[in-house]
């Protein structure tokens, strides 16, 4: 269905923004990001997250460090880099613009 495709496109853009948002205040373990995303029902299958994290990292917006955990092997904690913070700001502005645009249009009607 056409709507599915559009919905998926919308979600993907927002998903990237939301991943960065979860990292805004403190570094996060990837499984914790997943838990948040699943709570807000932004992702359907968990596998979606990993390629996206790797890409954001390769583009320089994210960094990570290994942290020992009490149970099991060390964990990968992701955090925003300086460029990542700027990028997030820009996305935030774009998001506000979009929200305003939608409100304006729906408000006018």
């Amino acid at each position: 269905m056409k709507a599915d495709n559009t919905k998926a496109q919308m979600r993907k853009g927002v998903l990237e923004y939301c991943i960065l948002l979860t990292l805004q205040n403190k570094p996060q373990y990837s499984s914790d990001i997943i838990v948040e995303m699943e709570k807000s029902r932004l992702i359907v299958v968990e596998g979606t997250l990993y390629p996206m994290l790797t890409r954001l990292k390769n583009e320089g917006y994210l960094g990570y460090r290994w942290e020992e955990s009490i149970q099991g092997p060390p964990r990968k904690y992701y955090e925003l880099t300086e460029t990542g913070k700027l990028f997030l700001n820009e996305l935030g502005n774009a998001w506000n613009d979009l929200v305003n645009a939608v409100f304006q249009i729906t408000g006018r009607k």
Partner: protein, 526 residues
């Protein structure tokens, strides 16, 4: 009770049941096929693996320590299929490659199906490959065994050796995967063309040039895809042709080597060749070398034929082999065989070093004759010529049930000042020394008989059964007194005439006529 394996997923140890292990391995295999080639792919895989480890760890309790099928199902469902979570941006930037790799993932490959095998699983594998009941392929093979005198057994063995068996789950999946077959290819080509058309119409609608270029890029990739499919279809056609040629070539070749004309005389099969290779070789090389020569010929001719078959099957079917090893190995053996053959051939050369002749002559006792009548002797009527080994100077024939070498003698008519007709027979042969030459000369059988005014000439000379070919020749010269005449019988159609002033005439134009010996040479009697 179930067998379990111990595995290590990103640093954590698990006990996992056999079926669950296969399923998990298959899932990871598919993931690595998906991400393996892209940048950061290994990292993504590691991340996913550690997440899987984490999820499995959460499920472990004191009572449940082994990973079961259900757990794996649950985890893989939660993680999703690789095509579900391909990152969009990368999909777009990678363009057609994402769809292509999706196609590759389920690409059908030819495997030997061991689960449904009768012998090596070749037929069942082919059945799966073509989506038909293997019984039909088995029937086809058995039929070919009867028709092709067993060559399809060799073809089967080649497949058995060359085609890998489907052992792991992943291989079994590839074996059953979708795609090839010609109708599917046609379908895909149509789809691709439609896609290209759509892309173009989309491009026309969009105003932005940038967007347009991107679409054009995609269209370009799509047309590359179409070309690829066309190339594949062409490859299948070509491969089929090669298989056919290789197969027929092998049948004919092997039958002529293994069975030959001696064991099966007459019409014993579709592909009954007339050449009996071992026998034929005996005419050229010394007895001790016949076996070796046969082996060499088998290698020199057989390897390219097998290679044709192999390349053909590689074009038609998709299966994994160590091409390099097989190719280099076969080429190496072929090269060695060729070198040995050249060496042996070179060794045979000194058998042709020297030439000598033996001449016998006899007068024809017929002084009163004005015309000498030349007629054909019992050869060729009493012999059976092998049609496919018949060169001008030598041929293979069957005389009295035995295969022998034979040759066509040359006939010359020469003017003489005397008053008598006479005939001179000159035998020629080559050899490494005089003794060998004399021996070869003795082996030349040729008969000329005269009675009154008739000279009966055999139109072929033959060599004794044990004789080797040493470029033997026979020259028959008939001395004709000037003014007398010679009638060439109509049946003299096989001999080679060496008439100095008539060398542009066909035999047909000279036989059945009477010729007068004039001082200028032969002239047709008016």
């Amino acid at each position: 009770m179930k067998k379990t394996f111990t595995i290590n997923i990103s640093g954590s140890i698990f006990h996992i049941e056999e079926d669950a292990f296969e399923k998990l391995q298959d899932y990871l295999h598919r993931l690595s096929q998906y991400f393996g080639s892209q940048t950061g792919g290994q990292e993504i895989l590691q991340d996913i693996e550690s997440r899987i480890a984490e999820l499995l760890q959460d499920k472990m309790t004191e009572n449940k320590e082994a990973v079961t099928m259900e757990w794996v199902d649950e985890v893989t469902e939660r993680m999703g299929k690789p095509e579900d979570f391909m990152d969009t941006e990368q999909t777009e930037s990678a363009g057609g490659t994402a769809t292509e790799s999706k196609g590759e993932k389920i690409r059908k490959q030819l495997y030997r199906d061991l689960e449904n095998r009768v012998l090596g699983g070749v037929c069942s594998g082919m059945g799966t490959y073509f989506n038909i009941d293997p019984v039909f392929i088995r029937i086809l093979f058995v039929l070919l065994v009867f028709l092709g005198a067993g060559v399809s057994i060799i073809v089967y063995l080649v497949f058995w050796i060359v085609v890998p068996a489907a052992r792991s789950t992943a291989q079994r999946l590839e074996m059953r995967g979708e795609e090839p077959t010609i109708s599917n290819i046609q379908k895909t080509i149509q789809e691709e063309i439609k896609e290209v058309k759509d892309s173009f119409s989309k491009m026309n609608q969009s105003e932005s040039f940038l967007k347009g270029r991107e679409v054009a890029d995609k269209a370009g990739q799509a047309s590359v895809q179409v070309l690829k499919r066309l190339a594949r279809a062409l490859g299948i056609f070509l491969g089929g042709l090669l298989i056919f040629l290789g197969f027929i070539g092998l049948v004919i070749f092997l039958v002529s080597v293994a069975i030959g004309g001696s064991a099966l005389h007459g019409n014993s099969g579709m592909f009954q060749p007339d050449v009996d290779l071992p026998n034929l070789l005996g005419f050229f090389v010394s007895p001790g070398l016949v076996g070796v020569s046969i082996l060499l010929i088998v290698l020199i001719i057989g390897i390219p034929l097998l290679a044709t078959l192999f390349v053909g099957t590689k074009l038609v079917f998709r299966y994994k082999t160590n091409n390099k090893l097989i190719g280099m190995g076969a080429f190496g053996i072929w090269l060695v065989a060729l070198i040995i053959t050249i060496a042996i051939t070179a060794g045979q050369f000194n058998n042709f070093m020297l030439e000598n002749t033996a001449t016998t002559g006899k007068p024809i006792d017929c002084q009163s004759c004005k015309t000498l009548y030349l007629k054909s002797g019992t050869l060729p009527t009493s012999m059976d010529i092998e049609k496919n080994i018949d060169m001008d100077d030598f041929l293979v024939a069957t005389v009295g049930g035995k295969q022998v070498l034979a040759g066509r003698p040359h006939l010359k008519l020469e003017a003489t000042d005397g008053s008598d007709f006479s005939v001179i027979i000159k035998r020629k042969a080559r050899g490494k020394n005089n003794e060998a030459i004399q021996n070869s000369l003795k082996q030349i059988q040729y008969e000329v008989n005269s009675k009154d005014s008739t000279l009966v000439l055999d139109q072929f000379f033959t060599l004794d059964n044990q004789a080797k070919w040493r470029n033997q020749e026979v020259l028959v010269t008939v001395k004709v007194p000037k003014g007398k005449m010679v009638h060439l019988g109509k049946d003299l159609d096989q001999m080679q005439f060496d008439f100095e002033n008539l060398n542009n005439l066909w035999n047909k134009e000279m036989t059945g006529k009477t010729w007068t010996m004039t001082p200028e040479g032969l002239a047709l009697k008016e």
